[in-house]
């Protein structure tokens, strides 16, 4: 009886010690993630400039529907998402399959080189890309010399090509990073599965679609979700490569939120409303990706 009582109080003591260990983190994440998140929700129902804010109900939300800049920003962000994320995921998967060949020479070298872009700061590489893709920049010069194009492409100042430049830039920066996840997953696949498939006469393509892809499903899901979250928030590249231009043709939702809050006359209420659009999109798209990918989970 006595021993049991002491045992219980010991457990209670351990339990309390455990809370002590996690306390700072819980307070920090509570104050710098969840609290501002709720604040933003309240803000989205307020209107006014600077700190002079009053509740207006849903007027900010109805404003979204007639706001053409918002529509442009939403459209651009979706273009980045729909084109760039699948492109990068496929490329990362493809490269990792090529690299996952134990007989390949210079494997480490290739891997390190392709991963290298992931060490750069977004601002630094964006500025480099801005000059490389300038009207009289090196990319145009090389393409002209190789006679691939006959006149310089306006990579930065043409509304269509500027979006392409942004997509090329993000793909350059993140493909190697995503590739690492696929490589480590591929290394965990038991080689004998492929052996058996080969004996059964399965082609390389069939092995890839029937064995590799299903086994990589969790990684595909993980990289798609994180890339989607990342691309929906794209900011640094656009500010430093195109400044959102020409016109608003490359502006993303995050750029618009920043402009609404810190560039134009500060409209925190409406900016918060726009930011909740990203929140809702992330929740919806992540949910969708989990649905599509996970029949079990």
């Amino acid at each position: 009886m006595n021993a049991k009582k002491r045992g219980l109080s010991m457990t209670a003591k351990y339990n309390l010690t455990g809370w002590g260990f996690v306390l700072i983190s819980v307070v920090m994440i509570g104050s710098f993630y969840f609290y501002p998140m709720i604040q933003a929700l309240f803000l989205s129902f307020k209107t006014g400039t600077g700190t002079n804010l009053t509740y207006t109900g849903f007027s900010n939300y109805t404003r979204l529907f007639s706001d053409t800049t918002f529509r442009t920003a939403l459209f651009n962000t979706f273009i980045y998402l729909i084109v760039q994320v699948p492109l990068m995921i496929l490329l990362a998967m493809f490269i990792s399959v090529l690299l996952n060949d134990s007989k390949l020479k210079f494997r480490g070298f290739f891997r390190t080189a392709i991963f290298l872009p992931a060490v750069t700061s977004l601002v630094a590489y964006s500025v480099v890309f801005k000059y490389l893709f300038g009207s009289d920049g090196l990319i145009n010069a090389m393409l002209l010399k190789l006679s691939i194009i006959s006149a310089p492409v306006e990579w930065i100042t043409d509304p269509f090509w500027a979006k392409i430049t942004i997509i090329i830039a993000i793909t350059w920066r993140w493909t190697g990073y995503n590739m690492i996840f696929y490589l480590s997953a591929l290394q965990n696949i038991d080689g004998s599965i492929y052996e058996a498939a080969r004996i059964d006469g399965a082609s390389a393509f069939k092995q890839f679609t029937q064995i590799t892809v299903p086994l990589l499903k969790p990684v595909i899901l993980f990289t798609s979700v994180t890339s989607t979250i990342g691309t929906l928030q794209i900011f640094d590249e656009i500010v430093n490569i195109t400044k959102g231009g020409p016109g608003n043709s490359t502006m993303s939702i995050s750029n618009y939120i920043y402009n609404l809050s810190f560039k134009y006359t500060a409209d925190f209420g409406y900016a918060a409303t726009v930011s909740y659009v990203i929140v809702i999109l992330i929740v919806l798209l992540s949910f969708l990706q989990f649905k599509v990918a996970g029949d079990k989970k």
Binding site: N15, T17, G18, W19, G20, F21, V22, I24, S25, V26, M28, I29, F32, Y33, Y35, P36, A40, L43, T51, I95, L98, L99, F110, T112, A113, I114, F115, P117, A118, V119, T120, S121, V123, A124, S126, V127, V128, F129, Y131, D136, L138, A141, W172, G176, I180, S184, I229, F235, D236, V239, S254, I257, Y258, S261, A272, S275, I278, I282, V283, S286
Partner: protein, 274 residues
């Protein structure tokens, strides 16, 4: 050896390598060239590196920006890995149902986009400015505080502390160490590689961070390296050679860490240590 599939693999990987590495080469070459030559796309190294560097030091606040970036990144890294490892250890070693629920709630914060946080956070720190000036807008504390604790890092430490032998905990208790003593004297030294990986990834994201510093750091003497580069790059008559030197300087610390500690670096980024 001569099968076409192999050849395709080598050709494809060589092209991918070239595309990945080329901007780095160009950036380094351009740092040694005159501004005019950079715009002309000169591909040969020049002898203007020293001149570009001198001009960069003379015309910009390079030292201030370097010092600000270094101070913020180092402090953030140290505090981050201590706070997150305490939590990761706590969640794993003192497991309970309630703690698991809290842990899962913390993980949800990874889904919260920064875009939705930046305005309330800005308001929060602008508000604090009047009462406690030391942590308000335009201070080192305001840049660091929201970024110190991330659910990713807590998760990372929790995953890795699963491999920490629990008998060492018991041994520490029998030796009469306090719970914190066990953490600092036994857990920390044993988990060195985990700390290295976590430290690298935190340092890198802090060194490279742009949007939040852009919002809170307003006076010129508080600017960090990414802010400096962004300002230089958007000037009306940019000196390209000078900017390339600044970019090389900004990239060096993370590149060096990458080459010296590649394994830890990748482990930190992908959130896994063997």
């Amino acid at each position: 050896m001569r099968n076409p599939k192999r050849i395709f693999t080598y050709v494809f990987l060589s092209i991918a390598t070239f595309i990945s590495v080329f901007p780095f080469l160009w950036m380094i070459i351009s740092a040694t060239n005159k501004s005019v030559d950079v715009t002309k796309g000169r591909l040969l190294p020049g002898n203007y590196l020293f001149e570009n560097l001198t001009k960069l030091i003379e015309t910009t606040d390079l030292w201030t920006a370097l010092w600000n970036s270094a101070r913020i990144s180092v402090l953030t890294t140290i505090l981050s890995i201590i706070i997150a490892s305490l939590a990761g250890y706590g969640f794993e070693m003192f497991r309970s149902k309630a703690k698991d629920v809290v842990f899962n709630i913390l993980l949800l914060s990874m889904m919260i986009p920064f875009a939705a946080l930046m305005i309330p956070l800005y308001q929060m720190f602008a508000g604090i400015s009047n009462t406690i000036p030391g942590i308000g807008i335009d201070t080192v504390a305001s840049v660091m505080l929201p970024t110190i604790t991330t659910a990713f890092l807590i998760f990372f430490f929790r995953q890795n502390s699963k491999m920490f032998p629990k008998d060492m905990l018991e041994a520490g208790r029998i030796d009469g160490l306090t719970e914190l003593g066990i953490f600092f004297k036994i857990f920390m030294p044993t988990m060195k590689t985990t700390y290295a990986a976590a430290g690298i990834i935190t340092f890198m994201s802090s060194w490279n961070s742009y949007l939040w510093p852009l919002i809170v750091l307003q006076s010129p003497n508080q600017k960090t390296i990414p802010l400096l580069i962004s300002t230089l790059g958007s000037g009306y008559a940019p000196d390209f050679g000078l900017i390339m030197v600044a970019i090389v300087i900004a990239t060096l610390p993370t590149a060096i860490v990458f080459f010296v500690m590649q394994k830890h670096f990748v482990a930190g980024m992908t959130g896994s240590v063997k």
